[in-house]
Structure formats: structure tokens, C-alpha cells
């Protein structure tokens, strides 16, 4: 692959990683604090419906950012019965084709998410407890789809370390820890 393209891919990867990391760290901290406070205060008969609502929205945002990170680490659940026996160039060719098709699917998700957010903005629907404009929450969908599109394109351009080592994507994450 040409060096400039590699540098662009590395810069895009670093930028996305910084944004995703900030989102998930803030999101998980917020969710834990909110639900812990809600549960603890619940024993004193003090109820915080806004805290629950905010935690659920934070969960949706963390989910989308986490799913994006999982694209980077090859961690997503997938059926590998057909690709596992492949080796070398054949494996890489299939991986590139899959990444391009996945990028196309995510681009479709971006269009779907964008249309959805636009329609929600037109309706002006608001959340029950926080009175937030709901389109601001739903905007996470097209943003995450855009991130994933870029991530799959990066995967198509740059062979991951796991792939180069002949490991199966999804079996190990960036820390080398297995998952089912």
C-alpha cells in the first residue's frame, strides 16, 4: 500500500480511537454513578427518573462507541466456519472484500441514521424526564455509522496485527484476552 495512504489511515485511526475512548470512559463512569445513586436513594424512597433516563441514553452511546472499538480490534461476533480454514493471500483477499462490503453496509446505516435524525428533528419529540430533544440522542447512530465506515475502510487498507499473525479475528482482542 502507498505510504501516504498508510499515514492517512494511521492518523484517522488515532483520531477515532481518542474520540471513542473519551466517550466510553465518560459514558461508563456516568452510568455507574447514576444507577448507583438511583439504587441507593431508592432505599430512602427518593426516586430519580431523570437519572435512569440519562443512564439509558449513555448506554446507547457507549454501545455504539464500543461497537466501533470492536471493529478496530476485530472483536465482533461472527460466523467463522467458512473463513477459518483460509490462509495467506486468500485469507487477506476475503478479509479485504468483507471489509469493503461492511463499509458499504455501514454507509447505508449512515444514510438511514441521518434520515431518521432529520425526521425526529422535524417532529420535535422530546424525552419524558429530561425534556431533551430526542434527535440529539439519536444522532449517535449516524455518527457511529460514519465512524464504522471509516474503520472498515482502514481495515481494508491495513492488515491488522492479529490477521498478520494468522489469528482469527474475534477470538482475541487488543489485549490478547479471549472472548466467546
Amino acid at each position: 500500500m502507498p505510504q501516504p495512504l498508510k499515514r492517512i489511515a494511521a492518523a484517522a485511526d488515532a483520531a477515532l480511537h481518542a474520540v471513542e475512548s473519551a466517550i466510553v470512559v465518560a459514558g461508563i463512569s456516568l452510568m455507574t454513578a447514576l444507577i448507583f445513586a438511583e439504587t441507593a436513594l431508592g432505599f430512602l424512597k427518593v426516586y430519580l427518573p431523570w437519572a435512569h433516563e440519562l443512564a439509558m441514553y449513555a448506554m446507547a452511546v457507549v454501545t455504539l462507541a464500543g461497537a466501533d472499538i470492536a471493529v478496530r480490534t476485530g472483536g465482533h461476533v461472527r460466523i467463522e466456519i467458512f473463513t477459518r480454514p483460509l490462509r495467506g493471500k486468500a485469507k487477506r483477499a476475503v478479509s479485504i472484500l468483507a471489509s469493503i462490503l461492511c463499509a458499504a453496509a455501514c454507509a447505508g446505516g449512515l444514510k438511514m441514521g441521518f434520515d431518521f435524525v432529520r425526521s425526529m428533528r422535524t417532529f420535535g419529540e422530546r424525552s419524558p424526564a429530561l425534556n431533551l430533544p430526542l434527535w440529539t440522542v439519536y444522532a449517535a447512530l449516524p455518527v457511529a455509522a460514519a465512524f464504522m465506515t471509516v474503520r472498515f475502510l482502514i481495515n481494508a487498507c491495513v492488515e491488522s496485527k492479529a490477521e498478520a499473525a494468522g489469528e482469527t479475528p474475534g477470538l482475541t482482542d487488543e489485549t490478547g484476552e479471549s472472548r466467546s
Binding site: 448507583f36 454501545t63 472499538i69 471493529v71 465482533h76 460466523i79 466456519i81 439519536y138 479471549s178 466467546s180
Partner: protein
């Protein structure tokens, strides 16, 4: 776009190894377009995860497990379990079973138990004169039992996808998990007696010492017990345990430092994201299936052609055992539960009982080639060929199949714990 074209495109994605959420998402969106639904419906259904309170338990349990396994808590709880059990006949094998179940339950991931426990326990078992084949088979199989024990993410996801009460599922899983653990234990004890394997001496001092060191970590299991006792909902328990794990690891054990948290949270978010994103697209797919009347037609077809619940459960077991050979449990839940569960209910089968049967089938699926994930993990951890590992789990597969028959045809084994609820 016809449903055939949608099936062809999504099958291509599936064969190429695309993430399952994209395969389901592509199929679902193309079918919706084909039937004239706006794609905004799909986006709306995906966001219905913000209305399912139980889903919050997943990020919390994953975060708690990440903190406890990377910190000191998990190791200290395991030390306590070992000190209590390993003096019994077959004690080291029994302690390995208990540790595998504990680790798999804590992390929600069966292979984690093999990595965490296996690397230490396998050499210890072999040193104590247990055959290597038995030791590898035991450690590979025991990890799969954790998926029935709270806070199993598999049970939570089954409950959400099938709209079955999660606390009831956990309660119903109690007896089956004890039966399977007892079968594994009896086999291990019999082998240790036959091979005249020496026993460790019981040391009250060691028990007290490990209790003293692990008491804070052990208190976290009290929060899990609160789910059984009805003190907390699954979501509340998960948030409490995450906050508690954070507090004891940062303030008491101090192996985890503030600077480690971003990396640990990122790891939790990755696991959370990969699970919840499939749930969100699966929800939109289920919505599409429901408005098309597919579950109703499938259950109608089954009730027309299968005469009794016994025959139905036999067919379901055969189907799920075959499916477990080629598909992991999460994928299977997302794809088959919306179709099979309504049929089971139409046959008069309790959905909680069906859930337990479903999950026990996939405990077996962890151990069956070609994609039994525990086989691959063990093969890597113990540096043995896949064939060797697959051979080593055969006796345990036999025990699991026997347990499956018991759990399937004696629903009261699962359901008696729900009496009075």
C-alpha cells in the same frame, strides 16, 4: 428488493465472516425495503434498547468482571474456594471445577475461565497424578457451566430476547447447575479414588487466612445473592457490584490505579458494544418478523406437525445441538429464540424451562467441533492439538448430555425453585 435477494446478500456477508450485527442488519433493512417499510422504522427499533432496563446490567457486570479479574478480588475469592475444597477426595479437581464456574460466571465468558484457571490448575492437577487428558477435559468443560450462574450475560440476553423474567431464569438455573456440577464432581472423585491420588491436609489456618484476605471481595457475592433473595433487580445488583468492585480495587486492594481505569473501561465498552449492538439490530429484525406474522406461522406449522411437547423438545434438542456445532450461543439466541420460543409456549412448555434447556444445549456447543470456542481456547492454552482436546472432553460431553436429558424431561428440576413466586 425481494427477500431472496436480501437473503443472498446477507448470506454473502455471513460467509465472508462479516460481523453478525451487520449480517442481521443488512438482511433486516433489505427485507423492510422490499416490503415497503421506511428504514426509519429500523432505526427507531434499534433505539428501543433505551427502553429495556435489564440491558443496563450488561455493561455493569462486564465492568465489574473486568475490574475484579484485573485487580485482586477474583484471585482472593478463588484462594478461599480452594482452601475450603481442595482437602476433599478429588479436592484439587473439585476446586478447579468451582474456580472455572466462578470465573466464567464472573466474566460472562466461558473461555476466560480456561485462560485464568487452566494455566495454573492444569500443571497442578498433572503434578497430583491426575491424567493429563482428564485434566484438560475437565478444565475445558467446567468453564461452560458458568453461563447458567449469575451474573451470566447469556441468561440476561435470553431473558431480553424472549421477554422472559431474568430473575426467574436465574432461580430456575440453580438445580440444573448443581446437577451438572455434581456429575462432574462425582466423576472426578471416583477417578481420584481409583488412582489413589493423595489428598491435601485440611488447614483451618489456611481457610481463615484466605477468608481474612478475601473478605471484602467475598462480600460482592452477597450482592449476587440479593438477586436470588429478591432484594435487588438484576440491574440494581449489577450497578452496585460495579461500584463496589471499583471501590475495593481502588481503595482497599490498590492493584488497580486511577490511571488503569480508561483502559479497563475501554475493554468493558468493547464487550458491551459487541453484545448490545447485535441486540439492537436483532430487535429491529424481531419487530419485522412480528409484523410479518412469522413467529405465529412458524409456531402454527410446528404445532400442526409435532404431536407432543416431548417430541417437540427432542427435536429442539437435536436442532440446537447441531446448531451449537456451527454457531456460538449469542448468535443462536438472536436468530432462533424469536422463532422457537413462541412455538414452545404454544406447545404448553414453560418459557423459563425452555430457556434453561436452550442454554444447557449451548453449554454442550462450547465443546463440540468445528467451532466449539472452548476447544480452540484450550488448544491454545494447553498447547495440544484440537483433536486431542476434543477427545479429552468426551466423558464430560457424555455427562452434559445426560444432564440435558434430565433437565429437558423433568421440568420440575428447573421450575420448583419458582414455587411460591
Amino acid at each position: 428488493m425481494s427477500i431472496t435477494a436480501a437473503a443472498v446478500i446477507s448470506s454473502l456477508l455471513l460467509i465472508l465472516g462479516a460481523p453478525l450485527f451487520l449480517v442481521i442488519g443488512a438482511f433486516s433493512s433489505l427485507c423492510m425495503l422490499g416490503e415497503g417499510y421506511p428504514l426509519a422504522m429500523m432505526a427507531q427499533q434499534m433505539f428501543s434498547i433505551t427502553e429495556k432496563e435489564a440491558l443496563l446490567a450488561i455493561p455493569f457486570f462486564v465492568t465489574a468482571a473486568t475490574l475484579m479479574t484485573k485487580g485482586e478480588s477474583a484471585g482472593r475469592i478463588m484462594d478461599f474456594i480452594n482452601s475450603l475444597i481442595d482437602w476433599l477426595p478429588g479436592g484439587l479437581a473439585l476446586a478447579s471445577i468451582a474456580s472455572c464456574i466462578f470465573f466464567a460466571a464472573l466474566s460472562g465468558l466461558s473461555p476466560t475461565a480456561i485462560i485464568a484457571v487452566g494455566a495454573l490448575a492444569c500443571p497442578a492437577l498433572v503434578r497430583s497424578r491426575y491424567p493429563e487428558r482428564f485434566s484438560i477435559g475437565l478444565l475445558t468443560s467446567a468453564g461452560s457451566l458458568g453461563i447458567l450462574v449469575p451474573p451470566s450475560i447469556v441468561v440476561i440476553i435470553f431473558g431480553i430476547m424472549g421477554e422472559v423474567n431474568i430473575q426467574h431464569l436465574f432461580l430456575a438455573a440453580l438445580t440444573p447447575i448443581l446437577i451438572i456440577a455434581a456429575m462432574f464432581s462425582a466423576f472426578s472423585v471416583a477417578l481420584s479414588i481409583r488412582l489413589r491420588i493423595a489428598r491435601n491436609p485440611f488447614s483451618p489456618k489456611r481457610v481463615l487466612d484466605s477468608l481474612r484476605k478475601g473478605v471484602l471481595a467475598l462480600l460482592s457475592t452477597g450482592i449476587i445473592a440479593g438477586i436470588y433473595l429478591g432484594w435487588f433487580s438484576v440491574t440494581q445488583a449489577s450497578a452496585l457490584i460495579a461500584a463496589y468492585a471499583l471501590a475495593i480495587e481502588l481503595l482497599a486492594y490498590r492493584k488497580v490505579r486511577l490511571r488503569h481505569l480508561p483502559e479497563l473501561f475501554r475493554r468493558s465498552a468493547t464487550v458491551t458494544g459487541m453484545i448490545l449492538v447485535i441486540i439492537s439490530v436483532a430487535m429491529s429484525f424481531n419487530w419485522f418478523l412480528t409484523v410479518q406474522g412469522v413467529p405465529f406461522r412458524v409456531s402454527g406449522f410446528i404445532t400442526d406437525h409435532v404431536s407432543s411437547p416431548i417430541a417437540f423438545l427432542a427435536l429442539v434438542n437435536l436442532f440446537l445441538l447441531a446448531l451449537g456445532c456451527i454457531m456460538d450461543i449469542l448468535s443462536a439466541i438472536f436468530i432462533t429464540v424469536p422463532l422457537l420460543l413462541p412455538a414452545a409456549v404454544a406447545m404448553g412448555i414453560d418459557p423459563v424451562h425452555f430457556g434453561i434447556v436452550f442454554i444447557v444445549n449451548f453449554e454442550i456447543g462450547y465443546l463440540t467441533p468445528p467451532i466449539g470456542i472452548n476447544l480452540f481456547t484450550s488448544s491454545a492454552v494447553f498447547r495440544r492439538s484440537l483433536l486431542d482436546v476434543a477427545g479429552s472432553v468426551l466423558p464430560f460431553l457424555g455427562l452434559l448430555l445426560a444432564a440435558l436429558v434430565l433437565v429437558t424431561y423433568f421440568p420440575s428440576l428447573s421450575l420448583w425453585t419458582l414455587n411460591g413466586i
